[in-house]
Symmetry: C3
Subunit: 142 residues, 3 copies
């Protein structure tokens, strides 16, 4: 991983065989980041995707273990239980150019991952919301 | 809906059962926004998508009424006929992780919707362009 | 093509029948841009997509010559061999709302293309990385 700050934005490159969440967490801790918006492209492998069943309040999970073009990674950084938490959704393309995707639980970089991170000064925390069974973003200023 | 301003960016959360366009319009009016870029993730339902047939200058429309992961929402705020207008495209994922999408005519939030809005000071207006049969963005400064 | 600067962002409109890479390169040269993040929506045609086979270090390429909704365009501007280089991935939707996509080698605008460009002051250059067989982003400050 290498990253570069430019004003309130960062360009981030995560490298082949590195784990996306491990590296993003390392990045957030090193830079002392509160929250922000993240998006990017690249290629991923060992991608664990989730689909949320609202009626059961449960994620269905599936691991995709080939190499895929990352058509879009989109999400945000907030804090959960005092730690940086990246909420990411991915749209992936296979070798036939078909697209698929979901909530990202885990992923390794297959070739390279090129991200843009737009930092917020404010801390956004997640708290459990019983209605949806998930930790949602709390917007009240800390 | 809750939102928080941070410099020239907003973090926005729109909640379960809320209508995406109603809430975004409410947000734009409350904040007196001119134009900007919007993107985000979450889960949607009752999504009316469009595919534009350029030869007929007509949208084909279809409603998808299950719950879907929102792999990416991407678009912009401009003004049309003096009112805020959000132009949004969505890529959605179903329970089999298959991706689909199009121009978004309507959508409700299924679980939560987490957006980043980057405001522009300038007002960008849309005007009818006969060549494409659509209101396209006029870049001349107002 | 028309574009408008607003702080460190640009709103860009590229028009029907214009080539995406020709126009983006023209934009980058005219504005003397070093690097940045780009994303947007619209409709494309004559889209040449690539899928990278890491084992062969080769792209498989395929041209899609109908008109497609552009569900998301996501990528960045860097410099390669002293010239502006846009690295773009697209997720496209066909008339049945099915999504597909990959690395974008070439594309024309089918209806309109609406982009947001967030400039960086820093110059990010690409250099060949033998491990992945591609020019990856070098983050060291110039």
């Amino acid at each position: 991983m290498e990253f570069m700050k430019d004003g309130d934005n960062y360009a981030i490159r995560i490298d082949k065989d590195e784990n996306v969440f491990e590296k993003l967490t390392e990045f957030a801790l090193k830079e002392g980041l509160n929250s922000g918006h993240i998006s990017g492209i690249g290629a991923l492998t060992n991608v664990e995707l989730g689909f949320y069943h609202l009626d059961k309040k449960e994620y269905e999970r599936k691991v995709f273990d080939k190499e895929y073009e990352l058509l879009s990674l989109e999400g945000n950084l907030t804090h959960l239980d005092g730690k940086p938490f990246f909420h990411l959704h991915a749209c992936l393309g296979d070798e036939n150019f078909n697209a698929f995707g979901g909530h990202v639980f885990n992923a390794d970089v297959a070739v390279t991952l090129e991200l843009n991170f737009r930092m917020f000064d404010e801390l956004i925390e997640r708290k459990m919301n019983a209605c949806i069974g998930l930790n949602h973003m709390e917007m009240r200023r800390v």
